[in-house]
Symmetry: C2
Subunit: 542 residues, 2 copies
C-alpha cells in the first residue's frame, strides 16, 4: 500500500529559497585576492543565483548540461552551487591545484559546456585552453579589472530575472553537482551528486550528533569548494541560515586566524595539515587572536593524530574528527563522544575522538576482510564498505572502475579499518598502503600517528619496502621539527612506549625536509615508494 | 542527466537496525499500570521488533496490511512502531480516548486485520468488539495476568527469528504507519505515513535548530503514541540513540515529575494543558523534584500562552513551542530564537517563542487570504497552507475531503495565521473559530491568550455569538483560578492594557467551572457555541 504523503521532491531550490527568505539578512563574507572583503546576504545569494540560472538558460543550457567552475571559495562560487542546479544544470568544480593537462582531461571527459572562472585564475585557464572547447567562458572579476577579449563578464549575467520567472521543476534524482576524485593513482573519476543526495546530506550534517550546524553558527570552510562540495558545508549552512565566511585564495594560518577573529567564526573545516599550521601559529603567538569560545574545527581528509586533538583542545579549539570521500558527498562518519563513553574518562574519550567516528544516520558501514565482514572488536581489519542515499553507485562514464562496488551494492572505499564495539571506525590504512609483512598486516597510519606524537617530529610517512624474507617491511620517512634532530633508536623506543608491537617497528627512519603531497594535501606515498625503491637496511647505514 | 548516486531507500528498518547495533545498551523505560517499570534496551527493541515482524508474516500479514494498536505508551507499542513496518505492514494507532463506536468506525474504515491491545484496555475493546472483526487479537500483558480466551499472548510472538532471517525489502513510499485525525467536526480521517516521510521527519527533528534531539538526551513523550506517532519522537530517538521513557497510563503531573527526576529526563513533550498542570504542581511544591538543568519542554497541539512560557522558564523548564498536525507527521514549525532576535532583548524573544515558529527545513508554508497569499508583515491573516515531503497529499479513502488540498497541491491546515517579517508563524485562529465582526477578523486565540495571562484566570475560550448589526461579536468563557472571582470591567481593562484593540473586546464574560475539551485536550468550541447559542448581552445582565 502506497502511503498518502506528498510526492515532494528533495530539491536544492528549496534550500536556497528558504535561506533567501527566512535568513535574508544573514551574511556571506568573501575575501578577495587583495584581502578586502565583499559582503553579501542570503537574499543577495538567492537573487543572484536566480539571475545566473536565468542567464544560463538564455545561453542555451539544457537540463543536465555541465557548467565548470575554476574558482576559489567566495560568493560567486556559491552562486554557481545554487544557480547552476536551479537552471537544471550540473556545476562541475575543477580542482585548480591539478596540472593543466589533468584539468583538460577532466573537462573533456565531463563534456563541460560552459566555464565560470576567477580573473585571477585566467593564467591557469590559458595553460589548458587550447585543449578544451567551452562554448562560453564567464569571468568573475575579483580584482575589479574589466573583463574583455573572448570572455563574458560574469557580473553582466546578474540582471534581475523577469517578474514571474520560476526555475524549471526538479526531479530529485537529477544531477546537481559534479566532482572528480583527485586520487593518487589512475585517471581522475567523476561523481555526479543528485539534488536528493545533497539535500539529505545537508540534513545529516545539521543534526546535533553530527556537525550540529545551526543558524547561530558562523562557518568558514577552508576546504576548497572544488573538494566534494567543500564537504557540503555551503548547502548545510544555507539550509539552516548559518553565516558563511569564504577565505578566497588566502589559506595561510595568519590570514585564516585574522578572519576567525574578525568575523567571529564558530566552525571551520579542513585537512589536518592546515590545522597543524594553525596550531603552531597560535602556539607561537599566544594571545594574538581572540577566537570564539568552544570554536569547532572539523578535521577530515586524512586522520588527525590524537596528540593534535589534545593540543588543539588546550588552545580552545575543539576538533571534530570526520570521515568522508568525494564518493560519499562526503560526510560518512563523525567522531563525537558517545553517551556510552561519558563515564569512561578523558583518555577513552580522546581515543574515540581520534578515530573516524560512527556512521551518520542513513549511512551503513561494514569492514570486509579476506573471509567476509569482520567482527566489531576494534582489532580485526577489513576494507571499509559503505552504502546509503548519498553514496555514489558508479563513476560517471568510467565502467573500468566498476570493481569499486561489490556485487551486493556496497562502495569499496579502499580504506582499511577496524570497528570497535562502540561502533567507532578507525582507519588503519589505505588498501594500497597497507604493509603485508610475513602474511600479517601492519598499519602504516598507526605508525605515522604514533611518530607524529613525538616531540621532535613534524611529519611522518610510513611505506612498505620490498623484503626478501617478509615480502614487505615498514620504512619510515620523518621530517623533524625546525632545529630538531632525530635518532632511529630513540624513535623505536618511543614507538614501543606508545604500544606499538615490536615486529611493527620500521626497519629504518629516512629523514627528509618534507613529505611529498597530493593536490589535496594528502601524503603522496606512491612518490615516496618510487624515490626509496632501492632502499635497504644496508644502504641506509641504519 | 540522472546522478550517479545509490538508489538507497529511506527505510525505517535502517533506523531500528542502527539503534539496535550502535546504541545497543541505551535504555527504554516503560511504566506499567502498577507504576513498576520495565527496562529494555535498543538491542532488545531490535530483537523483539524482528520477532514481531516474523510472527506477523507467519500469521499471514501481506505488504500494506494494517495492524491496529490500542495501547498506552510503552515498549510493546514501540515494538509495533518498528516491527509492523519491518514486516511490510502498516501500524494503525487507535485513539483510546475516543468513544467505542468511533473506534469501531475507524477500524472498519481502515480495514485493520489484526489488533495488538494492552490487557488493561480489553474492557474498552469489549465495548466495540461486536462491531469489528479482527482475524487475531494479540494481548500485551502489562499486569502479568495470563492471556486466555480467544486472544493470543503477544509475548508468545517474541521467539527469536530463525538464523538468516531478513525483513522483506522496502520501497520508501510504502505505508509504514497510519493515524486518524481526531478533529472536532466530521468523520475521523486517516493519514498513511510512508517510510520516507517518517525517515525525513526524524532527520528534520534531530537538527540543532529544530528539536536538537541527541543520543545524550533522555526523552519522555507525554503525547500519546496514538497521536501522530507521539510527534515522531520514538523514531527520532531511535535514529540518534536517545534514551526513551514511556509513562504508560500515568499522565498526572506528580507521576510525570517522579519519572522526570528518577530517569533524568532532558526532554518531554505534550499539549499546553498538561504543562499547565506540571507548572502548577511544581509551583505548589517548591524543591520537591530535582529536574535536569535546562530541561526542554516541547509544547504543541494548541498554542502555549507567553505567560506560561515565562513561568516555565523561571522553574528551569525551557519551553520549545512547535506546531504540527496529524497530516504533517507532525512537525511543521519550531519556535526557537532566531539569530536576528539575539540582540533584540528578552521581550522580543519571548514574543517569538510564543508564536508557532519558523518552518522546519523542507516544509514550505504560505498564508492565503481572500485575495491570495498575504504579506509576511505579522499583521495580515490568511489560512496556513503547507507543502513538503512529510505532508499528506490526501486522506485514506476519503475523497469527500479532497477540498483540504488546493489545486496547486498545498494542504489547507484550517489554521488562520499571520507570518511576521522574521518568518514566525502565529496562529490567530482556526478558520471555523475566527470571529468576523463587521467584515473584519477578530482572533479568538489572541483574546484567549491575553485572558489566560490574567492572574485570576485559569482557562479562557472565546467564541462568536450572532449579532444583528455586526453579524458576529466575541464572547468570552472564563474559568477563574480556585478561590478567585473575576469582573467583566476589570477583565476588559486588563485586555486593553495587553494591547487588545477596543473593538475586539468581548461583549460578555461567562464564568464556568471548566471548558469542554476534545479527546486530545483541545477546547471544544462547537459545544460552547451550542450551549451559548441563545446568549445576548441582555440575557447575561452584563
Amino acid at each position: 500500500m502506497v502511503a498518502t504523503m506528498m510526492n515532494a521532491q528533495l530539491s536544492l531550490n528549496h534550500i536556497i529559497e528558504r535561506a533567501g527568505t527566512l535568513f535574508a539578512d544573514r551574511e556571506i563574507v568573501s575575501q578577495m585576492p587583495d584581502k578586502s572583503v565583499r559582503r553579501h546576504t542570503y537574499a543577495d545569494l538567492l537573487r543572484r543565483s536566480r539571475s545566473l540560472a536565468n542567464a544560463l538558460i538564455d545561453a542555451g543550457l539544457q537540463t543536465g548540461d555541465r557548467v565548470a567552475t575554476l574558482m576559489w571559495n567566495h560568493h560567486a562560487h556559491l552562486e554557481a552551487y545554487h544557480g547552476v542546479p536551479m537552471a537544471g544544470g550540473v556545476y562541475h568544480t575543477l580542482n585548480l591545484r591539478l596540472a593543466p593537462n589533468d584539468i583538460a582531461y577532466i573537462v573533456n571527459h565531463a563534456k563541460d559546456r560552459f566555464l565560470i572562472v576567477d580573473d585571477v585564475l585566467l593564467k591557469l585557464y590559458a595553460a589548458f585552453a587550447k585543449d578544451v572547447s567551452f562554448e562560453k567562458v564567464f569571468v568573475v572579476s575579483l580584482t575589479d579589472a574589466p573583463v574583455d577579449g573572448p570572455f563574458v563578464s560574469y557580473e553582466s549575467l546578474m540582471a534581475d530575472v523577469p517578474a514571474g520567472w520560476a526555475p524549471p521543476p526538479v526531479d530529485e534524482n537529477q544531477g546537481a553537482g559534479m566532482c572528480y576524485t583527485s586520487g593518487t593513482t589512475g585517471k581522475p573519476k567523476g561523481v555526479i551528486y543528485s539534488h536528493r543526495a545533497v539535500a539529505l546530506h545537508s540534513m545529516g550534517s545539521a543534526m546535533t550528533d553530527t556537525l550540529a550546524i545551526s543558524q547561530h553558527d558562523c562557518v568558514l570552510p577552508m576546504v576548497p569548494m572544488f573538494h566534494a562540495n567543500a564537504w557540503g558545508l555551503p548547502f548545510t549552512c544555507a539550509m539552516v541560515g548559518a553565516k558563511q565566511v569564504h577565505p578566497g585564495p588566502h589559506l595561510d594560518p595568519v590570514s585564516l586566524l585574522d578572519l576567525y577573529e574578525r568575523e567571529k567564526v564558530t566552525i571551520s573545516a579542513g585537512v589536518p595539515t592546515v590545522w597543524i599550521g594553525i596550531q603552531q601559529t597560535v602556539s607561537q603567538n599566544p594571545g594574538k587572536w581572540t577566537l570564539q569560545p568552544d570554536m569547532r574545527m572539523v578535521v577530515g581528509g586524512s586522520a588527525a593524530p590524537e596528540a593534535m586533538i589534545r593540543d588543539m583542545d588546550k588552545l580552545g579549539m575543539r576538533v571534530i574528527h570526520a570521515w568522508g570521500m568525494t564518493e560519499t558527498t562526503p560526510l560518512g562518519s563523525v567522531a563525537n563522544v558517545k553517551q556510552s563513553l561519558i563515564d569512561k574518562g578523558e583518555d577513552a574519550q580522546y581515543a574515540a575522538r581520534a578515530k573516524q567516528g560512527i556512521p551518520v544516520p542513513f549511512v551503513e558501514i561494514r569492514a570486509v576482510g579476506e573471509d567476509g565482514p569482520v567482527a566489531h572488536d576494534g582489532q580485526a581489519m577489513g576494507e571499509l564498505q559503505v552504502r546509503g542515499p548519498w553514496v555514489a553507485a558508479s563513476y560517471f562514464d568510467f565502467p573500468e572502475a566498476n570493481d569499486r562496488w561489490t556485487d551486493d551494492g556496497w562502495f569499496r572505499t579502499g580504506d582499511v579499518v577496524t570497528i570497535d564495539p562502540d561502533g567507532y571506525i578507525k582507519i588503519t590504512d589505505r588498501t594500497k598502503d597497507l604493509i603485508k609483512s610475513g602474511g600479517e598486516w601492519i598499519s602504516s597510519v598507526d605508525l605515522e600517528n604514533a611518530l607524529m606524537g613525538h616531540q621532535d617530529i613534524a611529519e611522518a610517512a610510513v611505506i612498505a619496502y620490498h623484503h626478501d624474507k617478509w615480502v614487505e617491511r615498514p620504512l619510515a620517512v620523518v621530517v623533524p621539527k625546525e632545529g630538531r634532530t632525530v635518532d632511529a633508536g630513540a624513535l623505536s623506543d618511543f614507538l614501543i612506549s606508545q604500544g606499538i608491537a615490536k615486529w611493527w617497528l620500521p626497519d629504518g627512519f629516512v629523514v627528509k625536509d618534507a613529505i611529498p603531497r597530493t593536490s589535496t594535501g594528502k601524503f603522496l606515498k606512491a612518490k615516496l615508494r618510487d624515490e626509496l625503491s632501492d632502499w635497504t637496511p644496508e644502504s641506509s647505514g641504519s
